[in-house]
Symmetry: C2
Subunit: 342 residues, 2 copies
């Protein structure tokens, strides 16, 4: 199995390492960052050995030069900027798997891009899919969980990630340390990008055969319940001040099942640090069902899911195939090529 | 969609209610219990109305008399006693779905019965499957969860159920209130039946493509860490005495992945009562992954999963088809017949 890594950032590096360990032959690597262009992917990925794959910035040449089964694309989160990149891969007859958040389920946020890519992929006999954290732990784990429900009134999800490890720039983007009042003022009347949780819930609805009637998203500051020390601010977020942001989302369906949740990005207090990142779901109805993943290693599960998903994407029928339509994702105990046999 | 209910006990009653609410036409009901034979299933199931289905004990006649798509079988847990019942259903060209624990994955504990039923089902063009609590919440949720793992060393599961609601007879079967020493003495040299967790772990192994090398099961008494009041004993289990039993199971595979777990049945202390029944899984490796369901409504999820599974069984290719081989189980937002279309 041959792959091209398109985007050698933090995720691209981890994905490369995981692929090598699962016997994937990486034949090309693309990135624009001058700090790594010209270097060997093995060196950049910290493998302790060269892979004889030089990171290049001439995407079209790399994509056409090497015969590969699939391109692993980890560049931007939005479909608008990803569209030309996906198009380039597909036109070179490559299957595509990506971490792009909007690509997870683009039919709600970017239906035209999705339709064009679907057509293009069918024309070229390849598949494009977005996997990552949302694949197993959000979309498929939750629809599978609903298999234990007799009657569902609503599904509520909480996704919480720690901003604690990030630098000043990111923390300032999420208003960490500001007063609640000033943040609320800033948010007034501003149209925000949809968060990845919207795509998650839309994929859930599709998987359950529900028809979406209305999508509402609302950003809210999260407020410190106690003083929190924040290393990268060299200071403290005082009780009552803003620790980050959450997207509150509510989707109504024709079938009267409500899909809702909170996507929280904040600096953690001591209690939250103990539990770590969480992925928590409540299926309200008959019976009540509750599931929780705690201490989620977000980067590792993101990359592991993408790599485990590769055989399914290569084997899938052509087109834009979202993860709700692929087989149940599973651990790959054997080299990935094993799963293309049979 | 037409169904025959074979076994109108606690589970059969709940399944009947759920099926009626999902638009299934129940055409026959079988049970040997003289207290309910001759009564209408609607009355026995507490539906508040008759279903015009009289509970009868002449199984062969009911199975042949009514044209049904599927028989819902909830009678015994072991394959030995279930075999003639399954055979009877299949010979009448009925698909079969059952709660029988050994039937979940019979290839380890009862391979001959499994092979015979597989052949018979193929000959008659029908499918036999066991669903229930293990379907989503054990087997499929866990293999899906492993999709987030890059490398797995072992998978450890804990299943805990409360004996608190049961009568003296059941509590005495599980040695509740006895001294640890006397229980350990009783267990010495006694060959015990396999617990349902064995079938769960064997199905996990099959789903992950692993080859089982050795299965070890060991019964252990669970010990009270504090005094526990037990209503049906009209007394207290004192600290240090036996609260119930756990099956400790360990399966080694050729691929060096260990599957292990504890199936615990005990009277709950105050702390455990707050959390309720749990289904908890640790996937040890890279990364560490942890999942927990608490406050599990065991009866309701058992019956909901079985009912949700019916369309998959009817649509499946013929034979003995275990749940690891069926499509991802999902909530049925529409009447079950909807899922036979398309």
């Amino acid at each position: 199995m041959k792959a091209i890594v398109y985007g050698v950032g933090k995720m691209g590096v981890l994905i490369s390492r995981y692929m090598v360990e699962k016997g994937v032959d990486i034949v090309g690597a693309i990135d624009m960052n001058p700090a790594i262009v010209g270097k060997d992917l093995g060196e950049v990925a910290g493998l302790g050995r060269d892979l004889n794959v030089i990171i290049r910035k001439d995407a079209d040449e790399v994509l056409s030069e090497y015969k590969a089964d699939i391109a692993i694309v980890a560049v931007y989160t939005d479909m608008e900027r990803m569209y030309p990149i996906f198009k380039r891969c597909i036109k070179n007859n490559l299957n595509v798997i990506t971490l792009s958040e909007e690509a997870l389920y683009p039919w709600g946020v970017a239906p035209e891009f999705a339709a064009r890519l679907d057509r293009l992929a069918r024309d070229h006999g390849v598949t494009i899919t977005a996997s990552g954290l949302q694949d197993t732990l959000r979309v498929n784990l939750v629809t599978l969980l609903t298999g234990a429900s007799h009657f569902i009134e609503s599904i509520f999800g909480i996704q919480r990630n720690n901003l604690g490890g990030y630098g000043k720039e990111v923390l300032s983007y999420y208003h960490v340390g500001e007063s609640e009042e000033s943040v609320r003022k800033k948010l007034t009347g501003i149209k925000q990008r949809s968060g990845s949780f919207r795509m998650t819930l839309e994929a859930l609805a599709a998987d359950l055969g529900l028809t979406i009637m209305r999508v509402e998203e609302r950003p809210e500051p999260t407020i410190a319940e106690m003083d929190i020390e924040v290393a990268s601010l060299e200071g403290i977020v005082k009780k009552g001040f803003v620790t980050g942001m959450k997207k509150v989302i509510n989707i109504t369906t024709r079938e009267k099942i409500i899909l809702e949740g909170e996507q929280i990005l904040k600096v953690y207090n001591e209690d939250e640090l103990k539990i770590g990142d969480i992925n928590e779901w409540f299926v309200h109805g008959i019976p009540e069902v509750h599931l929780k993943n705690d201490r989620v290693s977000s980067d590792a599960v993101t990359c592991a899911q993408l790599v485990n998903r590769i055989p399914d994407v290569i084997r899938s029928a052509p087109g834009y195939v979202t993860v709700d339509l692929l087989p149940k994702l599973k651990y790959r105990a054997f080299p990935l090529s094993h799963y293309l046999e049979a």
